[in-house]
C-alpha cells in the first residue's frame, strides 16, 4: 500500500459513495470513514433539499491495464500519510499546500542535531524556511509562500520526495 494506491482507493470511495471501509491484510489494516453521519434536516419552512449530487457515474472507471503486482516503492515517493478524516470544524479547503518544487530528500532541520525549522502549530511568516530538500548533494531551503499557521507536516524527516508532493498544509493568517 503506497500513497498512489491509497489515493486511488480514496478516489474510488468518493466516486462510489462509500461511507465506511475496513480492510485487513497480513501487512496492514486500513479503516476509512467518509463523510460521517450526514444528516439533512429540513427546516420547518418550505425548502428544497438538494441531496448530494450523485457522482457523475457515467465516467467509466478506467481500469488501467495493469495486472502486475502493486509497485513496491522501496525508496520511492509514496509515504504521504493517509488523510485523516477532518472533524467538521476543520476546513482544510482553506489551507495552502506547500509542494516540493524539486526531487530530493526531505529534511525538517538544518542538521541532524538541530531543532526542526517548524512544528505543527507554529506560526510562520512568508519567506520563512520550512524545510530543506537535498538534491544532488545540495541543500535547498524551501520557504513559505504565505504567512500563517503550520497545520500539517505530511512527510517524515529523511524521506525521499517527488516533484509536486505536498509537504505542508498552512492555514494562512
Amino acid at each position: 500500500m503506497n500513497a498512489k494506491e491509497l489515493k486511488s482507493i480514496l478516489q474510488a470511495l468518493q466516486e462510489h459513495e462509500v461511507s465506511e471501509l475496513t480492510l485487513e491484510t497480513p501487512d496492514y489494516k486500513l479503516t476509512i470513514k467518509r463523510g460521517g453521519e450526514v444528516q439533512y434536516v429540513a427546516a420547518p419552512a418550505p425548502v428544497v433539499i438538494q441531496p448530494p449530487a450523485v457522482a457523475p457515474a457515467a465516467q467509466p472507471v478506467s481500469h488501467a491495464p495493469v495486472a502486475t503486482p502493486a509497485p513496491t516503492p522501496a525508496a520511492a515517493p509514496a509515504a504521504t500519510p493517509a488523510p485523516k478524516v477532518e472533524t467538521p470544524k476543520e476546513d482544510t479547503s482553506k489551507y495552502v499546500e506547500v509542494k516540493a518544487p524539486i526531487v530530493g530528500t526531505f529534511y525538517r532541520a538544518p542538521s541532524p542535531d538541530a531543532e526542526p525549522f517548524v512544528k505543527e502549530g507554529d506560526t510562520v511568516k512568508k519567506g520563512q524556511v520550512l524545510c530543506i530538500i537535498e538534491a544532488m548533494k545540495l541543500m535547498n531551503e524551501i520557504e513559505s509562500e504565505v504567512s500563517g499557521v503550520v497545520r500539517k507536516i505530511l512527510v517524515a524527516n529523511g524521506e525521499p520526495i517527488e516533484y509536486g508532493q505536498v509537504l505542508f498544509l498552512i492555514e494562512p493568517a
Binding site: K4, P60, S62, H63, A64, P65, V66, T68, P71, T72, P73, A74, A75, A76, P77, I102, V103, G104, T105, A135, M136, P160, I161, E162, Y163, G164, Q165
Partner: protein
C-alpha cells in the same frame, strides 16, 4: 548485472526499456512528468517518480531532478531512451560524476560524434566517404567560396543539428546571403549553437542506416541496415530491413559503418546514417549515439533484443556476440502510428482513447504505450504506436502490414491516427516495387 535502473523517458520507448529490464530481472524506476502519471510505463513500473510539470524542459530535460530521482530511488543506471537527453554528453557526464551508469556511449564519443563537423572528421580518418563539404564556416564569404568549388545546389546545416532541423537548400550564389543568416538563426534557436557547415545537396537519395553494437573496447558488430526513406519533413514514417540495395553495395556500407564505429571504440547501440544516390554512391551523414525508434525492424530480422544488449554492455557484461552469430532472416517493416490527422495535413490530434484494438497473429509486433482509457497528453510528440511486421520476404511483409493495419482500431473523441496514410503507402505501386527515395511522400503519393 544491475538490480535497479531508471528510465528517463516516456511513451513507447519507456515501455520498451521497462520490458527489456524486466526480462533481465532488473527493477525499473520510471521518472515521469505530471502529464504522464497515468501512462502505461508508470503503471507498470516497479517505482515511479514525478520529476516535474508537463513541459519537457522542466521534467524530461530537467537534469537535476532526474539525477535526484535516480539517487533517492537507488537506481544504479539510467536509460535515456531516444530524444530528450539521450544524446546530451553533459547529462552522461553528470551521471558519471554521481556514480550512476549512463546506458549509452561515453560522453567523449557522444561529444565527438555529436556534431556534423566532428562526424565528418572521424569519417575521414576511418576512410568512410562523406558528402563533399566543409567544416564550420566562419563567414558567408567562406560559404560562397566553398559552394563554388562543390557546385550548386548546396545544403547549409547546423553543425550541432539533427533530425533535419535547421537545414537550407541553396541553389545559387544569389540565395546564399539570406539563407546563411536564416540558417544561423535557426541553428541558434534549435541547438543553441549558430555554427553552420555546407555540403553538396543531393536531391534524390535513399536514407540507409547501419545498426551497430560495440563494447567500448574495439569490438563492434552490425545488425544489418535499415532503409528509412519514407519521410515527411525529414521525419521518418516507415522503416524496413534489410534495404533493397544490391548485395555488394550493402556489404560495402555495412563494412563502412563497422569501420567507423570501431575507430571510435564505440560502446553500446548506435546508428550510422548514410545517403545513397541512384548511382550507388554512398555518403556517411551522422551517427546517432542512442537506440532509435526504428530499432525494432533490426530486431525482427536478427532475433536479437538490442535494448537488452545495451543494458548488458552498460553493466559491463562481456560482449561476446560475433558477426557470424548474427543471422538475418526475412524482411521487416515498421509503421509509426502517430496521433495525427492524415486528411488534414498530419495535424496533431489529441484525446482520450476509448476503443483500442491492436492486430495479432504471425509476424506481427506492436510497441505501444496506449491502453483503453488513456488520454494522449498534448505536451509531447505524436508517436502512439509502432506496428512492426516480419515476413519471409518483402512482399509478404507488405501484405502482412496491410492486413495488420486494417485490424487496428484506435478510437476516441477527436483521436485520429496515421493508419490511413500507411494503408495508402502499402498499396502504392512505387512502394511495392521498392522504388523509394526520400521524396516519396511528396512525389509519389499524389492522386
Amino acid at each position: 548485472m544491475f538490480k535497479k535502473i531508471m528510465v528517463a523517458n516516456r511513451g513507447e520507448i519507456a515501455l520498451r526499456v521497462l520490458r527489456a529490464a524486466r526480462e533481465l530481472g532488473i527493477k525499473v524506476v520510471v521518472a515521469h512528468s505530471e502529464a504522464d502519471s497515468q501512462s502505461l510505463p508508470v503503471l507498470l513500473a516497479d517505482e515511479a517518480i514525478c520529476i516535474g510539470p508537463p513541459p519537457s524542459a522542466q521534467s524530461y530535460l530537467n537534469i537535476p531532478n532526474l539525477l535526484s530521482a535516480a539517487i533517492i530511488s537507488g537506481a544504479e543506471a539510467i536509460h535515456p531512451g531516444y530524444g530528450f537527453l539521450a544524446e546530451n554528453p553533459q547529462f552522461a557526464e553528470m551521471c558519471r560524476d554521481h556514480g550512476i551508469v549512463f546506458i549509452g556511449p561515453t560522453p567523449e564519443s557522444m561529444h565527438s560524434l555529436g556534431s556534423k563537423a566532428g562526424g565528418r572528421e572521424i569519417a575521414a580518418k576511418s576512410n568512410v566517404p562523406t558528402v563533399p563539404g566543409t567544416g564550420v564556416l566562419q563567414s558567408v564569404e567562406e560559404a560562397l567560396e566553398a559552394a563554388e568549388k562543390i557546385g550548386y545546389p548546396v545544403l547549409l546545416k547546423a553543425s550541432a543539428g539533427g533530425g533535419g532541423r535547421g537545414q537550407k537548400v541553396v541553389r545559387s550564389s544569389e540565395e546564399m546571403k539570406t539563407a546563411f543568416a536564416q540558417a544561423q538563426v535557426e541553428a541558434q534557436n534549435y541547438f543553441s549553437d549558430p555554427s553552420l557547415i555546407l555540403e553538396k545537396y543531393i536531391e534524390l537519395f535513399r536514407h540507409v542506416e547501419v545498426q551497430v553494437m560495440g563494447d567500448g573496447k574495439g569490438h563492434v558488430v552490425h545488425v544489418g541496415e535499415r532503409d528509412c526513406s519514407i519521410q515527411r519533413r525529414n521525419q521518418k514514417l516507415i522503416e524496413e530491413a534489410p534495404s533493397r540495395l544490391e548485395e555488394s553495395l550493402r556489404q560495402e556500407i555495412l563494412a563502412a559503418g563497422v569501420r567507423l564505429a570501431k575507430y571510435v571504440n564505440y560502446q553500446g547501440a548506435g546508428t550510422l546514417e548514410f545517403i545513397v544516390d541512384p548511382d550507388g554512391n554512398f555518403y556517411f551523414m551522422e551517427m546517432n549515439t542512442r537506440i532509435q525508434v526504428e530499432h525494432c525492424v533490426s530486431e525482427m530480422i536478427s532475433g536479437l533484443d538490442l535494448v537488452k544488449l545495451q543494458i548488458k554492455i552498460a553493466a559491463g557484461e562481456p560482449f561476446t556476440l560475433q558477426q557470424s552469430d548474427i543471422q538475418l532472416r526475412g524482411h521487416a517493416i515498421e509503421c509509426r502510428l502517430n496521433a495525427e490527422d492524415y486528411d488534414k495535413d498530419f495535424r496533431p490530434s489529441i484525446g482520450k482513447i476509448e476503443t483500442l484494438h491492436f492486430p495479432g497473429g504471425t509476424g506481427v509486433r506492436v510497441d505501444s504505450h496506449l491502453y483503453a482509457g488513456y488520454s494522449i497528453p498534448p505536451n509531447y510528440d505524436s508517436l502512439v504506436a509502432k506496428l512492426i511486421v516480419h515476413g519471409e520476404n518483402r512482399e509478404e511483409a507488405i501484405a502482412r502490414m496491410r492486413r495488420a493495419l486494417a485490424e487496428t482500431v484506435i478510437e476516441g473523441p477527436g483521436v485520429k491516427t496515421t493508419v490511413p496514410f500507411h494503408l495508402k503507402v502499402m498499396d502504392n505501386a512505387f512502394y511495392k516495387r521498392g522504388a523509394i527515395y526520400t521524396n516519396f511522400v511528396t512525389t509519389r503519393m499524389s492522386e
